[in-house]
């Protein structure tokens, strides 16, 4: 008989998994240089497959909540690094973002439809495939301390494709609600009103917080804590009011940047607490997936991943010369935009409460998510290294 001490209770499962993931991440990063987040995802997936009962989460659990906060912090930082003025001065960047999102949407929908998927499900899948995981991209950029045009443009284009993905996804959901319930008002409130309210909420805080900080003067020269706490608040509000935390935290960062009180380099990733939450986020994101489904959807998932990759690389590269960079760097931007998982998982977790359980229905999505969570960051890292934008000491 096993002594009690070997039985890992549910309360212990998450902290242990997170610790294990962190340790594995440190070792793997040191030995092979792979991005830490890839390892976090891998450990999370393995742990969840080994002990499926211990890692069940629903939308209301504290782990989901923490993961949302972690994602909110990353999105805030992401929004803070987007320069709207640049998008106006150099319109080719915005154009390439719109173009690659639209083509990705079209191609993924066409393939899914051709594979016999329901139109509505195919639309939801296509809208999610537009997005690149902002968490994956930002973590790799910060880990590599990269700087240059690939880095800058990836940040801007990813911000765009995420907003577009949320937007299209919500519109499709609204359409779905309209079809099933027949209520137009309910459909609109599930899409447009929700989107607008989220953005307005984020923007409002984005104006308020810098103003308060400015009035506090030199005492509050470091806004990190204030911004972090407001992100936590925003996530809680959006959670309670069924709004989009993605859009709210992203607009918060965007607005806070443009009404700036400066944010210094030492606070990248929100320091050590930000790191802790990131490990949790990446472990959580894949723990929701199921191995049988991943296997079942592997073929279609791989086809979609390859299609998405090719489309993104080509669609962004087309605009590189006219946008002021080399063809090579243009293509590398597309390559760097591979990761997609975390964003997808959190958007889906949120919609679960409405009865849309897309991951469960869509085996292909499960396969794509798992694959891109582990491999995506490695591809992004390679792209930055090939673009010679990483801060590695040269020999």
């Amino acid at each position: 008989m096993q002594p009690d001490i070997f039985i890992i209770s549910e309360e212990l499962a998450w902290p242990l998994a997170v610790l294990l993931a962190w340790l594995a991440g440190e070792f793997a990063h040191r030995w092979t240089g792979v991005p830490r987040i890839s390892v976090y995802g891998l450990v999370g997936f393995l742990a969840a497959q080994a002990f499926p009962d211990l890692f069940t989460t629903d939308g209301a659990s504290s782990v989901t909540m923490l993961a949302n906060v972690a994602f909110g912090l990353i999105l805030f930082e992401f929004g803070y690094r987007v320069n709207l003025h640049w998008l106006r001065v150099n319109p080719w960047i915005a154009l390439s973002g719109l173009f690659e999102s639209a083509v990705t949407f079209g191609v993924v929908y066409a393939i899914a439809h051709w594979q016999g998927m329901q139109p509505l499900t195919a639309l939801l899948l296509a809208s999610l495939a537009m997005s690149t995981s902002p968490a994956g991209v930002l973590r790799v950029i910060n880990e590599e301390r990269s700087s240059g045009q690939v880095t800058e443009r990836v940040l801007h284009i990813v911000a765009m494709n995420c907003v577009l993905a949320v937007f299209v996804f919500k519109v499709v959901v609204g359409f779905w609600v309209f079809q099933t319930s027949g209520s137009f008002t309910q459909a609109v409130s599930h899409s447009l009103i929700e989107l607008c309210a989220s953005a307005v909420l984020g923007a409002l805080f984005g104006m308020l917080v810098p103003a308060v900080l400015r009035n506090l003067g030199t005492l509050a020269r470091d806004g990190t804590v204030a911004f972090a706490l407001v992100v936590v608040l925003l996530v809680a509000i959006t959670h309670a009011a069924d709004l989009s935390p993605v859009l709210a935290t992203l607009t918060f960062g965007l607005m806070a940047r443009h009404r700036r009180v400066s944010f210094t380099r030492t606070q990248r990733n929100f320091g050590a607490i930000g790191e802790v939450l990131t490990v949790l986020l990446f472990v959580f994101a894949v723990s929701t997936l199921d191995w049988d489904r991943v296997l079942a959807g592997a073929m279609l998932g791989l086809v979609l991943i390859v299609a998405r990759f090719v489309v993104k690389v080509a669609a962004v590269a087309v605009f590189s010369h006219v946008g002021g960079i080399t063809w090579r760097k243009g293509a590398l931007i597309g390559v760097a935009m591979s990761p997609m998982s975390v964003f997808v998982v959190l958007v889906l977790e949120q919609t679960k409460s409405m009865g849309i359980v897309l991951v469960d229905e869509l085996a292909a999505l499960a396969a794509m998510t798992l694959f891109m969570e582990v491999i995506g960051p490695i591809i992004t890292q390679r792209a930055l290294v090939w673009a010679r934008e990483t801060a590695k000491e040269e020999d």
Partner: protein
């Protein structure tokens, strides 16, 4: 490699080199943007010349050879506008200033070019803390003897250029209390400081350079980091003590002040330079770095204590006739204004007090460089 002969050039022609900062517009830190920027600039003809510098967050521009203030200024304006437009296309901020107020030298990337790698290997952290930004002014000389005469005759005026150009009060996030902290980084190098007191090119070549070369310490003129050094391949002397000013207008004005001074000195109305002039040299230079226009210097001939601001104003007045002949009166007027309104270092400190952050200081420098 023997010292090359001093190439004759038209006296009193001038050329300006400026080292500029490349700044991220997200966090205002330096950013390694020079490869992308240089790629974009190569697509169109550039007014003057642009080259990479030792770290990827720095570029250097230089002008053609000019004789008149308005022509020099026109080219600098064109260069600046071209750079600012390219920076806008790439989301990169470009600005002057002798130091970046808060960059951490550990974060800097060395531009991949063999000479830069060698320098980095030899000097260690000195190479990275050498992420500083200066203005160099070249003045054409008829022959090597004139060049060495000017080099030493100018030594008494070096503090003027330090104080008028000073724009590096902040280093690594803090106020150094210096107006030009940048020069402290230069002084750390073994071959920095003043040139040896030699007044003929022949003597310089045979009894100084060849001996130094024989010691193995230096290989070429490039290894000397002197405040003023002769540049035989151009036929010029190069003044290297100026911080890169926040505006190209000031850069042009400083060059024209130097041009007028050289014209005046070549008339040889002043007592000739002597080795003993250097007794007070380091002290005066320190005063200019530390206190800027408020410094007090000691006259090398009379040992009289002088307010640096007063000494500059007196000299500017004395240069009036020369500047008028050379077409540089506007430049001298600009510098008279500086002695009244304060240097760029003063401007940056005011910005810090206004915005409360070093990031705010960088933001103000970015706006000022654009001329908006």
């Amino acid at each position: 490699m023997a010292l090359e002969p001093f190439k004759q050039s038209s006296p009193l022609t001038m050329g300006v080199e400026l080292e500029l900062q490349l700044v991220s517009l997200s966090d205002h830190d330096l950013t390694g943007a020079s490869p992308d920027l240089l790629h974009l600039l190569q697509r169109k003809p550039f007014p003057g010349n642009v080259t990479p510098e030792i770290t990827e967050s720095m570029i250097e521009i230089n002008t053609d050879v000019h004789t008149k203030h308005n022509e020099l200024l026109a080219q600098l304006h064109l260069t600046r506008d071209t750079l600012v437009a390219a920076g806008d296309t790439l989301n990169v901020g470009i600005c002057g200033g002798g130091t970046h107020p808060f960059q951490k030298w550990r974060d800097r990337k060395i531009f991949s070019k063999p000479r830069f790698k060698e320098v980095s290997a030899l000097y260690g952290y000195l190479a990275k803390q050498f992420t500083i930004f200066g203005q160099h002014v070249h003045i054409g000389c008829g022959n090597g003897d004139d060049a060495l005469f000017l080099l030493h005759a100018l030594s008494r005026y070096v503090p003027h250029f330090i104080a008028l150009s000073a724009s590096s009060p902040y280093v690594q996030g803090g106020d150094t209390l210096f107006n030009s902290a940048r020069l402290n980084s230069v002084f750390a190098f073994p071959m920095s400081g003043r040139a040896p007191f030699v007044l003929t090119w022949d003597e310089f070549e045979h009894s100084y350079f060849s001996k130094m070369e024989h010691t193995g310490v230096i290989k070429s003129m490039k290894d000397f980091y002197w405040d003023i050094r002769p540049k035989p391949e151009y036929g010029t002397i190069e003044l290297r003590v100026c911080d890169t000013p926040l505006t190209v207008e000031r850069a042009a004005a400083l060059a024209c002040y130097l041009q007028a001074l050289c014209a005046y000195l070549l008339d040889r109305k002043e007592e000739p330079p002597a080795e003993d002039d250097y007794l007070v040299y380091n002290y005066n230079r320190f005063q200019a770095c530390r206190f800027g226009l408020d410094g007090t210097i000691v006259h090398p001939k009379t040992y009289e204590s002088l307010s640096l601001r007063e000494d500059i104003l007196t000299t500017l007045r004395r240069m009036d006739l020369y500047a008028e002949k050379l077409g540089g009166s506007a430049a001298l007027n600009h510098l008279v204004q500086v002695t009244h309104t304060g240097s760029d270092a003063q401007f940056l400190r005011d910005q810090y007090n206004g915005s409360g952050s070093v990031e705010g200081v960088v933001d103000a420098a970015l706006q000022r460089f654009r001329g908006s």
